[in-house]
């Protein structure tokens, strides 16, 4: 179980590096999408490991919310270059 968490954390570091390094805003948004999903999946895994349903429900809510905020932000950034 410990090994699985460690692997997930390592996978989380990949989009983090991408968000730090890449100057294109859409690449950053992609990294944000990836991180938002990965962190909420991590929350779900932790909730299963601890058998804690409260954290599990919050994990599901955050999993859906992360994408909602991403779409709101993308709509605004998309209109930046229009006159």
């Amino acid at each position: 179980m410990n090994l699985m968490l460690l692997a997930m954390l390592l996978a989380l570091l990949i989009p983090m590096y991408e968000a730090w390094q890449d100057d294109n805003i859409w690449q950053k948004m992609l990294a944000f999408a990836s991180i938002a999903t990965k962190t909420s999946i991590l929350i779900l895994v932790v909730s299963v490991l601890r058998d804690d349903w409260m954290i599990g429900v919050v994990g599901v809510l955050i999993l859906s919310l992360g994408n909602a905020s991403l779409m709101l932000l993308a709509q605004i950034i998309k209109r930046l270059n229009q006159i």
Binding site: F32, A36, T39, L42, I43, I55, I62, S69, L80
Partner: protein, 190 residues
């Protein structure tokens, strides 16, 4: 879950916070703020504070970055008034020199992450009135020296354009003062 796991997860928080602090572009910083919010929600959930994690995701990430994006988008903009025949101006209708002026202005403003927005007016009087009423930050008028000249009432924009563009730039105060002296001379020597 032992202590090492928790320590590794918590150490992601200062890492993403450092990424956010080192970011220069405001829009990029907003995206990184979203990442920081996601990591913070993970840390709070792992530490057992499910309610705090939910609040961080709802308010700290979703609401705050959306509001900030709207605020940054509407404040980091230069409004340039132009005289056109129609209500709007499309890229195809633009004359050659005007396109060059726009691209030069955009490159100069891009260094400071400022957008350029065109506001169309029907005649020069309406344009001058708009500049006087603080509706636009600057105007673009045809000139004798180099096709177009820019008049701005913001000192900082004047400095930026003076340094980075080839088109003539003048302060609004100077233009008004020049006009007043011309009028006074005319009335003295009719």
């Amino acid at each position: 879950m032992n202590n090492t796991d928790i320590l590794v997860i918590v150490s992601l928080l200062p890492l993403s916070a450092l990424m956010l602090v080192l970011q220069v572009n405001p829009y990029h910083a907003l995206v990184i703020r979203g990442i920081l919010g996601a990591v913070a929600a993970l840390v709070y959930a792992v530490l057992g504070a499910a309610d705090v994690a939910l609040t961080e995701a709802l308010v700290g990430t979703m609401l705050s970055i959306t509001l900030y994006a709207v605020a940054v988008r509407s404040s980091l903009v230069m409004r340039l008034g132009v005289v056109t025949e129609g209500e709007t101006l499309s890229e195809e209708e633009m004359p050659e020199g005007f396109g060059q002026l726009l691209s030069e202005l955009r490159t100069a403003l891009k260094k400071y992450h400022v957008r350029l927005e065109l506001v169309c007016y029907v005649n020069e009087e309406a344009l001058e009135q708009a500049l006087q009423d603080h509706e636009v930050h600057g105007t673009c008028l045809p000139s004798e020296i180099k096709e177009y000249q820019i008049i701005t009432r913001i000192e900082r924009l004047y400095e930026i354009f003076q340094a980075d563009t080839t088109f003539p730039v003048s302060r609004w105060e100077d233009v008004v003062a020049k006009k007043l002296t011309q009028q006074a001379e005319l009335s003295l020597n009719p």
